[in-house]
Subunit: 226 residues, 2 copies
DNA sequence: CTCGCCATGACAAAACCATGACATCCCCGC
DNA sequence: GCGGGGATGTCATGGTTTTGTCATGGCGAG
């Protein structure tokens, strides 16, 4: 599991990073809001730890921006202030939980576990998906633009399902090969690209300028669900 | 949904029961074959999870007994062995799916969902069906294009019924053999194709370009109703 | 016995998709 | 801004798998 810690205080970072790594997480950190937001949006994280008081952009704004980019990973806010207003404001902006400093290590780990568990449950692909005027039904294994049926291959459905289950998180080529290909298939990476290409040509209104099957340079692809 | 877990290893039961209950299933378990068979036959379960290596009766025998009693609920075999012979023997004896230990929780849940979907969704085929200008009546077992009668064989009716019951979802050849053939017939896959071929030639306006009996490459066939 | 049904196998046709070549784009350092 | 190198877009190709289609023969019902 990959965590992103956005926190400007060096001493807190120094304390938190080992704690999280000891707990088995992969941790990256950012010392200011701008860097943090950038990594949160482009990186492939499972959870964000976000301080509210930050130089650059503040935590509330970062959280809103993350959501604007369609990223659904859970965000755990860290703050020195604990007023009811702050809490409401944070949760309103798209944060998933809220932890008031000072907190204990076990407390933090427990919150992280709870958040990851909560989101892992709905890591299953949805029963159906709508991309613009295209409707994909994973139960019926059908796909149509308006009333006109579109023929997707089995592999294309599986690739879409993986993307849909990721809920906007970028999916790397390796992850695709793991999840959409039969166990232990090791095709060249071009293969994944070709599936994406085919899906774009079938699903996107303008395949050359995709609005839903988005390339994340150096990371893979992600699904923009409008 | 009510599941019955027949498994003698305490540790596996202890791991599986909470997993299944968290997933929203009602779980009962039996620690040996005799008890398990008894509950499977008398109880009202939607699915059976069945270990093969059991004290008392072994899993294969239990499965056969369950079928002898006319119970049709899906059976998912769990086993440490994964040989082709075991698999065939299990499926031959009336099991519906097969999972080799060790398996992951999500993997098990996915299989269960698939089995329940497969057996529950299409419980009731419609009483009649209209495909273009062709009218099929499953009650009267008749079929006509306009006022002109079309002669369908018994098997063709059953194949159509299975397709109709699936409501547009693709039906695999395995599923056809399960549902449209007498218990545990193992004809070559070509047999299903031939039935579809015959149906197309009788029902489709242009058998070479079917509009209703649609091939889903790598999956099977599905019925396009309109 | 005769006829229809249908399982099996053979072969052709089609679909799918892995691979590689080349063009193009993007990011980074200058 | 301006290359340069790596990453991605795109296409053509061939091999493999899956499906279409037909012929054959066994089998059971009437």
């Amino acid at each position: 599991m990959r965590l992103l810690l956005i926190e400007d205080e060096i001493s807190l970072r120094a304390a938190l990073v080992p704690l999280l790594e000891d707990a088995g997480y992969h941790v990256q950190s950012a010392a200011d809001g701008t860097t943090g937001l950038d990594r949160a949006v482009t990186g492939n994280f499972d959870l964000i730890l976000l301080d509210i008081m930050l130089p650059g952009i503040d935590g509330f704004a970062i959280c809103r921006e993350i959501r604007k980019h369609g990223r659904k990973m859970p965000v755990l806010m860290l703050t020195a202030r604990g007023t009811v207003e702050d809490r409401i404001r944070g949760l309103d902006g798209g944060a998933d939980d809220y932890l008031v400093k000072p907190f204990s290590g076990p407390e933090l780990l427990a919150r992280i576990r709870a958040l990851l568990r909560r989101t892992a449950v709905d890591a299953q692909p949805p029963a159906s998906l709508r991309l613009g005027e295209v409707q994909i039904d994973f139960q019926q294994v059908t796909c149509q633009r308006g009333s006109h049926a579109i023929n997707l291959t089995t592999r294309e459905f599986r690739v879409l399902e993986v993307l849909a289950a990721a809920k906007g998180r970028p999916v790397s080529r390796e992850e695709f090969l793991d999840k959409a290909w039969d166990h232990r298939a090791f095709p060249t990476t071009r293969t994944v690209d070709n599936q994406i290409l085919a899906l774009r040509q079938k699903l996107e209104t303008d395949p050359a300028h995709p609005r839903h099957l988005i390339t994340v340079h150096g990371k893979g692809y992600r699904l923009e669900n409008q």
